[in-house]
């Protein structure tokens, strides 16, 4: 349904209907904004990045061929913009300063899919606010690739196929990255609880 509406609005926008732009923005702004916020962990940066996503999309709308859905295209651009933003020197600085629960000695073992401490999750006994802060900090401590797949899958609840289109990973790589990301997230949450 949303796909059909998107298609109609895009056609209207290209034929000069400025209100079609408003409809497209209003339909997708919250999901794009939430994705940017979860990927960047900062409200103002997420705002900037989400706006930039729409600007980029509307400027390149003439070249959109509907090979994927409009929302997938939006997400792809948003993910790339967020990655570039995090790569910027300023963000690297803040990441260094605010790194959460990450031990520099800790090394990722690609074949290890076991949660070593199967104790109950620390999230169980937390209030919603505490839970959110801890989760967002733990997400922020992941690499961009792991953060992206975990957010797209478990926060935005996109299908594996959509995530593959957005990230460019084949399904096998995607499953592997997702499993690894969840394992790391669990470790970070456990580490945060122990401190």
């Amino acid at each position: 349904m949303a796909k059909e509406e998107d298609r109609t609005d895009i056609a209207d926008f290209l034929s000069g209907d400025r209100t079609a732009l408003d409809r497209l923005v209003l339909r997708h702004k919250d999901r794009v904004f939430n994705l940017c916020y979860r990927l960047l962990g900062d409200y103002s940066e997420a705002e900037e990045c989400a706006q930039e996503t729409f600007i980029k999309v509307f400027r390149g709308l003439k070249g959109f061929r509907f090979e994927s859905s409009f929302s997938t295209w939006l997400y792809t651009i948003a993910v790339n913009l967020c990655r570039n933003r995090r790569k910027s020197a300023e963000h690297r600085f803040w990441k260094r300063v605010l790194r959460f629960g990450q031990n520099s000695q800790e090394k990722e073992r690609p074949e290890d899919f076991e949660i070593e401490d199967p104790a109950p999750s620390p999230l169980v006994r937390m209030t919603e606010k505490e839970k959110e802060i801890m989760l967002q900090s733990a997400i922020d401590s992941l690499s961009h690739d792991h953060r992206t797949v975990i957010i797209l899958r478990h926060v935005e609840e996109l299908s594996y196929e959509e995530i593959s289109r957005i990230t460019g990973y084949n399904p096998g790589t995607l499953k592997s990255k997702l499993a690894r990301a969840r394992l790391l997230l669990q470790k970070r949450l456990q580490g945060a609880k122990d401190r």
């Binding site: 923005v25 939430n34 916020y37 400027r59 949660i115 109950p120 919603e128 478990h154």
Partner: protein
């Protein structure tokens, strides 16, 4: 199913639909393995926590901001607009291009002129050397401070010629061996007229009806004028430099050497101001006798060595021409 195998597919079991046979095996294992069951529980809690994370909404002014940013032209086109305003359209580039082209043409012309000037210095056939300054044989070594006045130029030229003469003596001509002959040109008894400070003339050593008078090159008179200008107000003949008439004779002899396709290797200092210094020249043997015939028009020739010297036609002859006054 073993624990390791179960844990490997636990993520997929928790997250996606796995085939039924695997599902049954995993469930059977979970029923008996507390560790794997706890792990699954942790994964589910994590999924629930992520799913129930608050959905952050975009600010209310988001649409307005996107619209206003879209109405602004992109950064690149803004930059282009600013540039075009700054440089007033194409005119700036046209003027800049024309200026660059003019600079290029001037630089090229400068290089070409300098190049041709260099050749002129090296090749006396293209531009005759001035009378009064010894002819250059090789390009003098570039000096950092170029002499400005005529006496300075003369001194510099003399130094360069002495250097060249020394080198020429030490270094034989490559290829064909040059045969040497030394001769003295005995000029008629009158000494050349020398201008005095007051504009008068000193007694002449050389008669006005000298046979060399007709053989003067057009440039000789000009160089004479240069000499008189350079020494205006003082004695016209400086110490060690030949008088204008002697310079004229030297110029004539040099021209003869050039006509014989020869080149002047060195010009010695004038011992007598009324006579030129000894000239050392090299020329093809085929032109040697023609050169002698021309030289005889200036005066009598006296050989120092073998008078019947007859070089091989393909050889080179190195001729030393000294000057003396006929008694």
């Amino acid at each position: 199913m073993e624990c390791s195998k179960a844990k490997a597919i636990l993520f997929e079991y928790a997250d996606t639909d796995i085939p039924a046979e695997f599902r049954e095996e995993v469930e059977a294992h979970l029923a008996v393995c507390r560790s794997c069951a706890s792990q699954l529980e942790a994964l589910k809690e994590q999924s629930d926590a992520l799913r129930t994370l608050a959905k952050v909404e975009a600010p209310t002014e988001f649409l307005g901001q996107v619209r206003s940013r879209l109405e602004k032209p992109p950064v690149l086109s803004r930059f282009k607009d600013r540039l075009s305003v700054l440089f007033a359209g194409k005119r700036f580039f046209q003027v800049a291009g024309a200026a660059a082209m003019a600079v290029l043409v001037m630089a090229t012309a400068q290089v070409v002129l300098r190049e041709s000037g260099h050749k002129t210095l090296l090749s006396p056939a293209e531009s005759p050397p001035p009378v009064g300054s010894p002819p250059s044989v090789e390009a003098p070594a570039p000096s950092p401070a170029r002499p400005q006045s005529l006496p300075e130029i003369r001194r510099e030229n003399k130094k360069a010629l002495n250097r060249a003469a020394t080198e020429a003596k030490l270094r034989p001509s490559p290829g064909i061996e040059a045969q040497s002959v030394s001769l003295t040109l005995k000029l008629p008894g009158a000494s050349p007229r020398v201008k005095s400070r007051g504009g008068g003339f000193k007694p002449e050593n050389m008669s006005a009806s000298s046979p060399s008078a007709g053989a003067h090159a057009p440039g000789a008179g000009r160089v004479e004028q240069d000499v008189s200008k350079g020494a205006a107000g003082s004695s016209e003949v400086s110490e060690g430099s030949p008088a204008p008439e002697a310079q004229k004779i030297a110029s004539d002899v040099i021209r003869m050497i050039e006509r014989a396709n020869g080149k002047v290797l060195s010009a010695g200092p004038a011992r007598d101001p009324n006579q030129p210094g000894t000239l050392l020249a090299e020329m093809p043997a085929a032109n040697y006798h023609a050169f002698l015939d021309q030289l005889r028009q200036l005066g009598e020739i006296e050989f120092k060595g073998d008078k019947e010297f007859s070089p091989a036609p393909d050889a080179k002859v190195r001729v030393s021409v000294g000057f003396a006054t006929r008694d």
